[in-house]
Symmetry: C2
Subunit: 244 residues, 2 copies
DNA sequence: CATTCTAAAATCGTATACAATGTTGATTAT
DNA sequence: ATAATCAACATTGTATACGATTTTAGAATG
């Protein structure tokens, strides 16, 4: 198939979208929705064929996804959907807390009525999706954090929060047990309340508790010997088997 | 020039390094050392020719540098060295503080003797380079923060700190006034001390003060109307000319 | 039957080719 | 002379081509 699709012809549709971007987004969604499960091998050829583009664009997308931690890139051996280790998981959660703490600080007492409305509207949608436990509910719960970061007005902070959120999704896909996210809705409401009142300390405490609940879901299924060690260590410590 | 350099020939050197990585690093250094000044246009052809590689690799490097905020990528119009706005600068400094705060929390009271030695050794090198005010001194001062993040053992935190540090360099290249970094050395020593004593609060306070000093150097030369507004706003507020 | 070597296939790394878009400078009409 | 128009040029977007490396399958050997 030729590169530039019909130039002359009869109408010449605008062809606005840069296709590289589309490839990136498609792969990203496929990974986050677990259509591509962690560990899946990703040959450039097949993927490109599947998406109707050349290896060039697929490769480009892989590069970006690798920087975001969603794809693992081994030299001369190609790409695969990242399979986060528990150590990486710990790192991600730690950074996420630091970032979201900053979001709370930026937002406390500075939410405009329109922004509060936007957040409450979102929480309402979360509650609606509550029953149907499909991926919809999980996606919405995650988006709450992204919206908060967006409202902070700090583009970099927003980008980083989005990145760690994505990686959290992947981590939960590997280590998380299925779990109803009932608590999320009420916790989100409390956070909005604290932010409106300008109570930064409470907002931060709530957020930390909330994220710890998310993290707690991930500390379960050890896969590698190293992961096993990480899971067992706190128990060993609490029993006085190893030094703190 | 052919792709795969001599296969037969007489010796066939190993050719270990992936060239894409080299291109990326070369451009990165060139930008950070201001050999390529902010705003400089970066045509794929010329750069590739200069570096002895094809556009493919240059393009790949541009993609990565753009994600790190060092290069600006405009669709169909190519790449240029990023010219950060003051708003971006504010964002970067804010995120940097949040991240380095986390580094302090991770490190306070947990530095091993070897790690303390490494840090003190680095500070000693900073002091040596003090006199010769070349770029050497600035680079070393920046590296102190990167080493701290590295010691934290959190790979993601380390990557993010490195990224915001790079962007800070670029920001100072645009807005910073030349300024002796005498204070840096003694401040760095104080931080090590606080960390060794396990005094997280003091370490955080010192780091924040230190970073604010860096940030203060950047708030000077407004370039765009928007930047001008950002610079003047705090003054206007302090004079009661606009509402806080 | 397990193991090591080898040849073929698959896949990656990089360069080049071609189409599409943007830029520039000359030409013409006002 | 100035502004609008269009052709030549420059540069980006994407596909294809080709050498290099890794993986796999099969044959030969112990």
């Amino acid at each position: 198939m030729g590169a530039g699709r019909m130039a002359g012809g009869t109408k010449a549709e605008p062809r606005k979208t840069p296709r590289a971007q589309s490839v990136y987004r498609a792969l990203r969604r496929a990974i986050l929705e677990q259509a591509l499960r962690p560990g899946t091998k990703l040959p450039e050829d097949s993927i490109g064929e599947e998406l109707g583009v050349s290896r060039t664009l697929v490769r480009d997308a892989f590069g970006r996804l690798a920087l975001e931690g969603l794809v693992e890139l081994t030299p001369n051996r190609g790409a695969s959907v990242a399979y986060p280790t528990l150590e990486e998981a710990r790192d991600v959660f730690e950074v996420r807390q630091a970032l979201e703490r900053q979001v709370m600080l930026s937002l406390a007492g500075r939410l405009s009525p329109a922004e509060i409305a936007r957040l409450e509207d979102h929480v309402r949608r979360e509650q609606d999706a509550q029953g149907r436990d499909g991926p919809e509910s999980i996606r919405l719960a995650g988006e709450f954090h992204i919206i908060l970061a967006e409202i902070s007005g700090n583009a970099l902070l927003s980008r980083y929060v989005q990145e760690v959120s994505s990686r959290c999704s992947l981590i939960l896909a590997v280590y998380g047990r299925p779990h109803s996210s009932e608590c999320a809705v009420s916790e989100h409401r409390q956070i909005i309340d604290a932010l409106r009142k300008g109570d930064a300390a409470t907002a931060i405490a709530l957020m930390e508790h909330h994220l710890e609940a998310v993290a707690a879901r991930a500390v379960l299924a050890p896969r590698t010997p190293d992961d096993l060690a990480l899971v067992l260590k706190p128990y060993a410590r609490s029993e006085g088997l190893i030094a703190p």
